[in-house]
């Protein structure tokens, strides 16, 4: 009997080996086409009107075009679909670049811009809040669009990097079920199809697997000769899988969410580390409505007791690359109104004790609730660091894990909001307004960004000045004063300026993520595929 079983096993083994050999030989199909493979943790939202997170932004910036784009290696913006624009009070008039075609072959006109803006406002999702300020948009003629704001808003041009222009004719021909004249505003169609004019066209989209994009040979700026012909954006790959795929040459760029030790290991194997910085920061937020952090002296005691250098070391990948840079205040280094890099926050235990002595609450009566978001394991390490740091000045604390869904519900009421929350917050347009207004203006309190519940007239005044000042110097002065005030009243501990780090194979060159002179001050814009180069 044993002989026959062994025979069966042997036969199965031979068959399996033969099959493996045949298939291994057949998958190596010679092709001149260059393919870029990258991954993101979450499903990419293909509908540009709903785009908000990193994967969505990568899709949006490559499949769709916007009126303006950020300058490369410099602050400010430049025309993209807009050739030029004029500002008259609260009215912005944009002259469109002629002859731009959508992937469908339709010509891009002012009607498409108006439709895209109306659609975004009607959906009320993603980053549509950026355009609540818009009173009306009108097509003056085929190549001119006029947008009138309800009130003065200086960073409006910066917001336009988040207004992707969709093909109105194509969307209108594919409206799904819904109420009213516009039915579903094409949501069902745009969640699975592309209606853009960008440098890449979507060839397939599987929300759980990947989005495949092909280079648009007719792109109005021309398709980069060495840019990848095909891009496969994969979703939800495990860190171990990405680690193995990159090492085997079957993957090109990882997401930024790999654990530091995996990034370090990949770098050790020869992978390059790409970085993007200047758009987001790690904020430790203090609930200013509850004892003891309703006392500014107590908050300053914690801000001085926090070990900033240890925090940076915790996110370091190697001696030269870290997922964090020292923070200098509420505004990220390099942004309008920021302090220079030399003014990095430092731990000062003596100052912490002095502030604590002035606090109306006794340290022995304090027991802080340190929360961390369950989906972000790194925050647990920071909670432990804070617990140790605060214990050194005699403050006890308890660590509490909160899933994101529960956290976002709890922060809607100040009494339910933990004493301390940890959040990564980014400027979605590269302008300090979209970084700070949602966090610190009293009208914006009680959202996931603002568990501080800050109500400070001076902060409000500076934030409003930042919106209304018409020149850069005036805005810089407003934000500089705001930064000073936010450091003085410490609603948050400004832990570090975040650096997104991606591991990449040597097959691809990404100047926007390796050379500061070619970087963009907009999260995700470094993943503009037409500016990448495939090396083999």
């Amino acid at each position: 009997m044993m002989k026959s079983i062994l025979k069966t096993f042997a036969a199965a083994l031979v068959a399996a080996s033969a099959l493996t050999a045949v298939t291994a030989a057949t998958v190596t199909i010679a092709s001149a086409e260059t393919v870029l493979r990258l991954d993101e943790v979450a499903v990419g939202e293909l509908d540009p009107g709903k785009a908000s997170d990193y994967a969505d932004s990568i899709l949006m910036f490559n499949v769709y075009d916007t009126l303006v784009i950020p300058n490369q290696g410099a602050p400010g913006h430049q025309g993209h679909l807009a050739e030029s624009w004029t500002v008259d009070g609260n009215a912005f008039t944009f002259k469109l670049r002629p002859g731009v075609k959508f992937h469908s072959g339709n010509t891009l006109t002012a009607e498409d811009v108006v439709f895209s803006l109306d659609r975004m406002k009607a959906l009320g999702q993603g980053l549509s809040y950026l355009f609540e300020i818009v009173d009306k948009a009108e097509a003056v003629d085929e190549g001119t669009v006029k947008i009138t704001l309800k009130s003065a808003y200086s960073p409006f041009v910066a917001s336009l990097v988040r207004l992707p222009i969709v093909d109105k004719k194509l969307v209108m021909a594919n409206l799904g079920a819904g109420d009213g004249e516009m039915k579903d505003w094409g949501q069902a169609f745009l969640s699975a199809n592309d209606a853009g004019s960008g440098a890449y066209k979507v060839t397939s989209h599987n929300p759980q697997q990947e989005t495949v994009m092909a280079k648009n040979a007719d792109y109005f700026l021309g398709a980069g000769a060495k840019a990848p012909d095909t891009v496969r954006l994969r979703y939800g790959l495990e860190a171990a899988t990405v680690r193995t795929l990159i090492a085997q040459g079957e993957h090109d760029i990882s997401s930024q969410w790999l654990p530091p030790e995996v990034l370090k290991s990949l770098a050790g194997d020869g992978a390059q580390l790409l970085t993007e910085s200047g758009t987001s920061g790690f904020y430790i937020k203090m609930n200013t409505t509850k004892a003891p952090l309703d006392d500014v002296e107590c908050r300053l005691a914690l801000a001085n007791a926090f070990d900033y250098d240890a925090g940076i070391k915790m996110v370091a990948i190697n001696d030269s690359v870290s997922q964090g840079k020292p923070s200098t205040g509420a505004i990220l280094v390099g942004m309008l109104g920021a302090n220079p890099a030399e003014m990095a926050n430092k731990r000062d235990l003596e100052a912490a004790k002095a502030h604590l002595a002035k606090c109306k609450y006794k340290p022995e009566d304090i027991n802080l609730e340190l929360s961390w978001i369950g989906e972000v394991p790194l925050e647990e390490r920071f909670a432990l660091l804070m617990q140790a740091n605060f214990a050194e000045i005699g403050i006890k604390s308890e660590i509490k894990k909160l899933p994101w869904a529960l956290f976002s519900e709890q922060v809607s009421k100040p009494e339910n909001t933990p004493n301390i929350s940890q959040l990564f917050v980014s400027s979605v347009t590269g302008d300090p307004d979209t970084l700070l207004y949602g966090m610190y203006h009293s009208s914006a309190k009680g959202t996931w960004q603002s568990p501080e519940y800050l109500q400070d007239a001076e902060v409000d005044k500076h934030l409003d000045e930042g919106r209304t000042a018409t020149d850069d110097a005036g805005r810089a002065a407003a934000y500089s004063a705001l930064n000073k005030r936010l450091v003085a009243i410490a609603p948050s501990i400004y832990a570090y300026d975040q650096v997104a780090v991606f591991a990449a194979s040597k097959r691809v060159s990404v100047p926007a993520l390796t050379d500061p002179a070619k970087a963009f001050n907009l999260s995700g814009f470094g993943f503009t595929f037409r500016l990448m180069e495939m090396n083999e």
Binding site: V43, G124, G126, S128, A240, T241, A405
Partner: protein, 341 residues
């Protein structure tokens, strides 16, 4: 009514009651997970109006009983609603992702039977020998680590250090196979593309083996212990004294009665694999329903949670019915008990 049909009718009846119970339970559980599904779906920056509109569309502000009534009415029309995670009908998501999981689980199930049972027989037959000890060692390893640990170990061993198998996905990017059944091993053959079939088979080996390993070990352990017990029965002694060949005694007189408990466990393991597959699917980037199920739970995608759990429960029940029928087919006493009842 023939006894087997009577058994089938009885099992299908109880399965239907179980399914209704599961639907009610999961419908309630999905609604008590923390977080507002509308807010999660629309993102942290959605306007209050958009959130209110979605809550209304999902009937989230209605009483629970009314919500369940809407759900049952939609279910009767075959409509499980729209997934807030993928923005597609849940039925379409299930149709897209279920075949990938079923294919993986079926291949793993085949491995479980094809390897687990012979290993158990081999171990029992050569009890106390080095073969028995080796097989028991493998069984111990198989049951002592969960499938995702094996997934990572197998990937490291056979895709990284010894790159014999692919790391991720169901088929290489160079093949474009039009879906007919959703089972790539079938669709590649329908397309007449033998190379693509080989490629799909090559992709499924590691994830299926990782998923099957604990089941193989369970089946082997159970078969071995049952066979060892059966070998000690007087009728085996008698068969030996009559001089029947060892092979005949092993397969015909010892194996068949030992198979019944193994079959029950294999059936349960097989059905459990539908739920357990998610970590293996995650490690091997296998676009299946289990991975989808976890993603929708994390996003509190109510429609998709209920749809996925219902489908997995239905599969679980179907497998159990099939196992019951198979056991009745193998064991005449069960058939006769149905006749008597």
């Amino acid at each position: 009514m023939p006894p087997v049909l009577r058994l089938l009718a009885k099992r299908l009846g109880t399965s239907l009651i179980v399914l209704i119970g599961v639907s009610l339970l999961i419908f309630a559980i999905a609604r008590v997970i923390p977080g507002d599904p509308a807010r999660i779906a629309l993102g942290p920056n959605a306007t209050a109006e958009a959130i209110a509109a979605l809550r209304e569309r999902l009937h989230l502000d209605d009483p629970f009983v009314l919500q369940y009534g809407y759900f049952l009415a939609d279910l009767a029309r075959g409509d499980l609603g729209i997934s807030l995670y993928t923005n597609r009908p849940v039925t379409q998501d299930i149709a897209d992702y279920l075949p990938a999981t079923l294919e993986l689980v079926l291949v793993a199930g085949l491995m479980m039977v094809a390897l687990g049972l012979p290993l158990g027989v081999l171990s029992a037959r050569y009890r106390g020998s080095w073969i028995d000890h080796s097989v028991r060692m493998v069984m111990l390893l198989g049951v002592s680590a969960p499938s995702f640990v094996w997934a990572v170990i197998l990937m490291l061993l056979f895709a990284f250090y010894l790159p014999l198998f692919p790391i991720a996905g169901r088929i290489s990017d160079s093949y474009a196979i039009s879906p007919v059944t959703g089972f790539l091993l079938v669709d590649t053959l329908i397309a007449g593309n033998v190379r693509a079939f080989g490629n799909a088979a090559w992709h499924i080996v590691l994830p299926a083996f990782a998923l099957a390993l604990s089941g193989i070990a369970q089946a082997a352990r159970l078969t071995r212990s049952n066979m060892v017990e059966t070998y000690e029965r007087p009728y085996i002694e008698m068969a030996k004294s009559y001089g029947f060949p060892e092979k005949r005694i092993a397969w015909r007189y010892a194996f068949k009665p030992s198979l019944i408990p193994s079959m029950t466990i294999i059936g349960l393991d097989f059905a459990a694999m539908l739920g357990n597959a998610f970590l293996v699917e995650a490690v091997f980037a296998w676009p299946g329903l289990s991975r989808y199920g976890v993603a929708v739970i994390l996003r509190k995608d109510l429609n998709a949670i209920v749809g996925t759990v219902l489908i997995i429960s239905a599969m679980f029940l179907i497998v159990n019915v099939i196992v019951d029928l198979l056991i009745a087919f193998i064991n005449p006493r069960i058939r006769h008990s149905q006749r008597a009842s």
